[in-house]
């Protein structure tokens, strides 16, 4: 049926590297011809950087400016409305719910994932089957959020009390506590946000574990051995030696989680679609864009997300500057 389309895509795929090398070749020849006339300034760096910068300009820098402008315009971007859209972001009921949920995600998801990852890294460091154990915890991190959503929708499946529970969570709980009332985890507004956060923790803990584990291996073993000979307990060693030495890594991981969890979208989209008070900022934006076609609101929400990560951006640039001078 669409074999032609597939063939075209394959030709394109093979053609891309050839095309790019040809471009580099032509650019080099062009720059060389010009360099003869004016010795000093070469065009080459600019020509070679051009593909990268055209992409960055079109897909990142121009949208940045355009979205900022749209966020001050009305629904279909025909009239300037000032800060009206931002007022919406901070006062609308469903927006406030989304902000609250995102805050829950940022605080609890980050706290639990980083802590569990760190503790597991320290514990697993002491056993011989470390690599297998790490691989098991890491596995969820390489599948898509969509697949994880399918897995956990099934985990949380609910049957009324008395019926055979086919959802793993309810089955385990009813088996352990005979009086337990099976719950519809994704529908009950008391639990549903927590149920979603658990999915996030399941996915991301392996990620934290791998990074912390690598950082832990960087601590000289003599240091820990010396502390043990001096009679320090394992818990004291953890808090007084390991934790301070790993503080840099912990900060990196925590900021990484915060940035990503602010933008969290897929898990909620496939599991509850933001219904029953589970909406987060990114899902709200998607709805404003496609359901309500309100580009002013959507733009303001996007800018809010950007403002939230600007401190991290500044940190990155500062770190780069320091590395340069240092």
């Amino acid at each position: 049926m669409n074999l032609f389309q597939i063939a075209l895509a394959l030709v394109f795929m093979a053609g891309i590297p050839i095309f790019l090398v040809l471009y580099l070749l032509v650019a080099e020849k062009l720059a060389a011809g010009r360099a003869k006339k004016r010795k000093r300034k070469s065009l080459l760096p600019w020509l070679w950087l051009a593909p990268a910068f055209v992409l960055i300009l079109v897909f990142l820098i121009y949208p940045l400016i355009n979205t900022t402008v749209l966020s001050f315009m009305n629904k279909d971007s025909t009239r300037f409305v000032g800060l009206e859209n931002y007022r919406f972001v901070f006062t609308n009921d469903s927006m406030l719910t989304a902000l609250r949920n995102n805050l829950l995600w940022v605080v609890f998801f980050t706290l639990v994932t980083a802590t569990v990852g760190l503790v597991l890294a320290v514990l697993m460091d002491r056993v011989r089957y470390e690599s297998v154990a790490k691989a098991i915890i890491f596995l969820p991190a390489c599948i898509s959020f969509v697949a994880a959503g399918v897995i956990w929708r099934f985990m949380y499946t609910y049957q009324p009390k008395g019926a055979a529970q086919i959802g793993t969570v309810n089955a385990i709980l009813t088996a352990i506590f005979p009086n337990f009332q099976p719950q519809a985890w994704l529908f009950n507004p008391i639990f549903n946000n927590w149920a979603l956060i658990v999915v996030g923790i399941w996915i991301w803990t392996g990620f934290a574990l791998v990074i912390f584990s690598a950082s832990l291996k960087g601590i000289p073993p003599e240091l820990l051995e010396a502390a043990r000979i001096d009679g320090a307990g394992e818990i004291k060693i953890f808090f007084k030696i390991i934790l301070p030495l790993m503080s840099q890594t912990i900060i990196v991981v925590v900021t990484y989680f915060i940035i990503n969890v602010l933008k969290i979208f897929d898990i909620i989209y496939v599991m509850t679609n933001g219904n029953l008070d589970t909406e987060v900022i990114a899902n709200r934006m998607y709805k404003e864009m496609f359901t309500f076609r309100n580009f002013g609101h959507a733009g303001a929400i996007a800018i809010f997300l950007l403002l939230a990560v600007i401190p991290v951006m500044v940190m990155n640039v500062k770190r780069f500057r320091r590395e340069r001078s240092g």
């Binding site: 960055i56 990142l60 898509s144």
Partner: protein, 299 residues
């Protein structure tokens, strides 16, 4: 003769058998905790895997764990159904057609830029690089409306070309950042002797830089490939709902929301989408973990 004790060996020599037994006993809680947590983490995936091979009526009546004490009625019906009837076969091909170019383009273009940033002097270099570093954390959501407008004007919505370019651009800042750090550390003498031999930039780039950067390129390739393969949002927005071009993530999310598609089909579909990432993870774990380690600054 006094020998210095080797590091990591206890000063008091080989532990006695009694001491070893005591130590093993003391370690029991540790093993119990680790094994318990590993089982806990495996449970959800295991449930999916087993259920995807069970017939429809059983999936809805009994828990997946019953296969361990009742006869396992194994069936491939769920897989056949989603591949033939739910567009999963086509979606698998689409996911590949999207992810491969969306990995090759940013890595090649990024490597060229990284080479220029590392080894060619020109004015404004630092400023340009700072722009790249700042773009690392820009939320994707920020770019959706303007790019979609642009794609609508250029008729790129719902095309592979559009999504290749978008994913390439989103992956570029990280690719440039990572590769510049790597290429910057290559020995200076290598470049100087090549230049003395009269090699041009293109020759140096293709013959020296690319081959020596293979470890970094591999980590980056795996990272970007997984990212694109697992992406839902970008595909959902730029490809629209067209089944002809939908990757697996989009198809599965449609299956979830469409009425009447059973949970057993969803599980088969989800497992098909997990297959390739899991193979990559188990075969290329070393590069993958390295990518994660250097990737923890990506936004």
């Amino acid at each position: 003769m006094i020998r210095a004790p080797r590091p990591n060996t206890p000063l008091y020599g080989k532990p006695s058998i009694a001491r070893r037994i005591v130590r093993a006993l003391l370690h029991t809680p540790l093993h119990v905790i680790i094994v318990f947590i590993c089982l806990l983490w495996l449970l959800p995936s295991l449930g999916l895997f087993i259920s995807s091979f069970r017939p429809r009526n059983l999936v809805h009546q009994t828990g997946w764990w019953t296969v361990f004490y009742t006869p396992f009625q194994f069936t491939l019906q769920n897989y056949i159904h989603v591949i033939e009837r739910s567009n999963m076969g086509r979606s698998f091909i689409n996911s590949l057609l999207i992810a491969v170019p969306a990995t090759v383009i940013p890595i090649f273009v990024g490597a060229v830029a990284a080479y220029i940033f590392s080894w060619v002097k020109f004015r404004g270099k630092d400023l340009l690089f700072i722009i790249v570093v700042a773009m690392l954390v820009v939320p994707l959501q920020m770019t959706l409306i303007p790019v979609l407008h642009l794609f609508n004007i250029l008729h790129l919505t719902g095309t592979f070309l559009g999504i290749w370019l978008a994913h390439s651009a989103y992956g570029l800042p990280f690719a440039i950042y990572l590769l510049r750090n790597f290429i910057d550390d290559l020995p200076k003498s290598m470049f100087e002797s090549a230049q003395l031999d009269g090699a041009g930039h293109l020759q140096i780039f293709l013959r020296l830089v690319l081959p020596t950067s293979v470890p970094a390129l591999a980590s980056l390739a795996i990272f970007q490939f997984m990212w694109v393969w697992n992406d839902l949002l970008v595909a959902l927005i730029y490809l629209g709902g067209t089944p002809d071009v939908a990757p697996m993530t989009v198809t599965i999310s449609h299956l979830i929301t469409s009425v009447g598609s059973g949970v057993e089909y969803l599980m088969a579909a989800a497992f098909i989408s997990m297959l390739l990432p899991m193979i990559i993870f188990f075969t290329l774990q070393k590069y993958f973990v390295r990518g994660i380690l250097s990737g923890s600054i990506k936004g």
